[in-house]
């Protein structure tokens, strides 16, 4: 009885995510503004398949790392971006643009931004992890503050780099900050992100019981047998690398990593052995659904940026969450 309910929840979540995938594959708005249902054939369809693969990998990585971080940081409002990787990636992109401008090269766009984004994200992650060492172990509270500080410094760096660009090259960073699901993704980045999502989900599920134990206070967690230091280090690095891989592939995508774990928790409960895989499925479904929705909303000339969709829906959901959990979890 206790075992069956989470499995039913996981199945429901998988079905919902499959519906989102089908919707993204089969329903698009054409240039003349009409919604068309159907499959355009293998050549054009490949764009949709690639977009779904990107959304599922990135969403799963964000969902799994959000679930793990909410447990490890003992905070329902934690998201993968507390690790400072987004701002770090933004700074990487800004400085890459500046370097290209100084060297007299064309402004980098699309997949060419993946490498500097990844480098910036990993650099910021390294700084945050170094800053949050206390008594030889990683401390959750210091980690949150370290993430805020590193993020602020990286954002300041981005602003400076952007200001130094010639006027015609500015604005690139703003576009990048919206996040996007590329229909022609860099296959290396996609493979890296998918591998990170699968690896992190597997690790979180395999160590699910230990993660549950880490929700207790430090002393209590150690006293029930959790080797807290090594586990935190491994998990924070895993979450940081997976998030960096999504940021390199898609740019920063707001709220999915925050909301997916809550959707999953509502259906499967809070035990991490099943919560982490469920949050990965929920993240994949949410991000695919957001990308599908973006295709359908007619705003005249173009389409809504993905980040706008996740931010509008995610922001409202976040407010609801804040009202509900502020009194709830930490008591």
């Amino acid at each position: 009885m206790m075992q069956r309910r989470p499995m039913i929840g996981l199945a429901l979540m998988a079905v919902a995510s499959c519906i989102a995938v089908a919707a993204r594959l089969l329903v698009v708005r054409t240039l003349d503004g009409s919604l068309v249902v159907g499959w355009p054939g293998p050549t054009l369809g490949q764009f949709r398949v690639d977009a779904v693969l990107v959304a599922c990998s990135a969403g799963a990585a964000l969902g799994a790392s959000g679930a793990i971080l909410q447990t490890l940081l003992r905070n329902p409002l934690a998201s993968p971006f507390v690790l400072g990787v987004t701002s770090g990636a933004g700074a990487g992109v800004a400085f890459a643009s500046l370097a290209a401008s100084i060297a007299g090269m064309a402004a980098p766009t699309g997949a060419a931004l993946g490498a500097p984004a990844l480098a910036g994200a990993l650099l910021a992650l390294g700084c945050v992890l170094l800053l949050s060492r206390r008594h030889g172990a990683l401390d959750p509270i210091t980690l949150i503050l370290g993430g805020v500080i590193v993020g602020a410094i990286a954002s300041a760096g981005s602003t400076v780099a952007e200001a130094l660009l010639p006027p015609e090259r500015r604005g690139l960073l703003t576009g990048w900050l919206f996040g996007r699901i590329p229909e022609v993704p860099d296959m290396g980045s996609l493979a890296a992100c998918a591998a990170a999502a699968l690896g992190l989900t597997g690790l979180g599920a395999a160590w699910g019981n230990r993660l549950d134990g880490a929700a207790l206070s430090d002393d209590e967690a150690r006293s029930i047998g959790i080797a807290l230091g090594p586990m935190r280090t491994a998990m924070f690095i895993g979450c940081g690398v997976a998030t960096a891989a999504t940021v390199a592939l898609c740019g920063p995508i707001a709220f999915v990593g925050l909301l997916a774990p809550h959707c999953a928790r509502a259906l499967v409960g809070a035990r991490n052995r099943i919560l982490v895989p469920a949050a990965a499925v929920a993240g994949a479904g949410l991000l695919t659904a957001a990308d599908a929705l973006r295709q359908w909303i007619d705003i005249g000339g173009g389409r809504l940026p993905l980040g706008a969709v996740t931010a509008v829906f995610g922001g409202v959901a976040f407010l609801v969450l804040l009202r509900r959990t502020a009194a709830g979890w930490m008591a």
Binding site: Q70, T71, L73, R74, N75, P76, N209, R210, D212, G213, A215, L216, S217, D219, E220, R222, S223, I224, G225, I226, A227, L228, R265, A270, R271, G328, W329, M330, A331
Partner: protein, 257 residues
């Protein structure tokens, strides 16, 4: 049976120095830690649980330094109830109690038994965070019951500070039963009536040093306690023996005999 031994450990925490000397709580008995606030009761329990590394000396569990023992190995022989139980995820009461067996196999019956011993059977499926402070403390004790093996060590840091008298009395009985079955129990409390009910031995710590260690019937008395705790003490006749009570200067008129 596990043997716990403080072998003149020295632990410095800022200006505070914990240096209790040689102390060995006996297996099969309940040792109650008393002493003023900030005197070192919690440090003693955290050190016994392997959370603090002594600069000199050692705290030994069956002859091995407890703070270098692998966490999983230590958890099989020793359970700790911290002063303020914290659960940073929306778990049910049953989930939290099951964490006592997180690395070892546990039957649902064992978890149910631990819940029943702390009087939590009716609350098992409630969210932990919906419970009162005293109920949450009982959940932490139940988790320690689930974790504890016969003959192991139980460390309790003010584990009933917020628990109501009827539930506290029941927990006292369960913990005495663990000691009778061979457990080494070390329990800090500032409540003298709880200490009177729980203690075989009393260990008093003040300023990080041991000021007394001995049998409860000699130390929990009107003669010995005032110099140890700095408070007047009255003695009352309980159902099973004498009870020490802190005398804060009660103003109730004497009842007619």
């Amino acid at each position: 049976m596990s043997a716990l031994r403080f072998q003149s450990p020295i632990i410095a925490r800022g200006a505070f120095m914990f240096a209790p000397g040689e102390v060995a709580p006996s297996a099969g008995r309940v040792t109650v830690l008393i002493g003023p606030n900030g005197g070192g009761k919690t440090t003693a329990l955290r050190a016994a649980a392997g959370m603090l590394a002594p600069e000199q000396g050692a705290i030994l569990l069956d002859g091995a330094p407890v703070h270098t023992m692998p966490a999983a190995q230590r958890a099989a022989r020793m359970a700790l109830v911290a002063q303020r139980p914290e659960v940073g995820a929306p778990f049910s009461v049953r989930d939290v109690v099951a964490l006592g067996r997180v690395l070892r196999p546990a039957s649902p019956e064992r978890i149910a038994h631990a819940l029943a011993r702390s009087g939590l059977t009716q609350l098992a499926d409630r969210p932990f965070h919906a419970l009162s402070g005293g109920q949450q403390q009982r959940v932490a004790v139940a988790r320690a019951f689930a974790q504890h093996e016969p003959g192991g060590v139980l460390l309790l840091d003010e584990a009933f500070a917020a628990v109501d008298p009827p539930e506290a009395a029941a927990l006292v009985r369960e913990i005495r039963a663990e000691a009778a079955a061979g457990a080494t129990v070390l329990a800090a409390t500032h409540d003298l009536s709880v200490a009177s009910a729980l203690a075989d031995d009393v260990w008093c710590i003040a300023g990080g040093r041991s000021t007394a260690f001995g049998a409860a019937r000699e130390l929990l008395t009107r003669a010995a306690l005032p110099s140890l705790l700095g408070v007047a003490v009255a003695e009352a006749h309980g159902s099973r023996g004498t009870i020490a009570v802190a005398d804060y200067g009660g103003i109730l008129p004497e009842a007619p005999r």
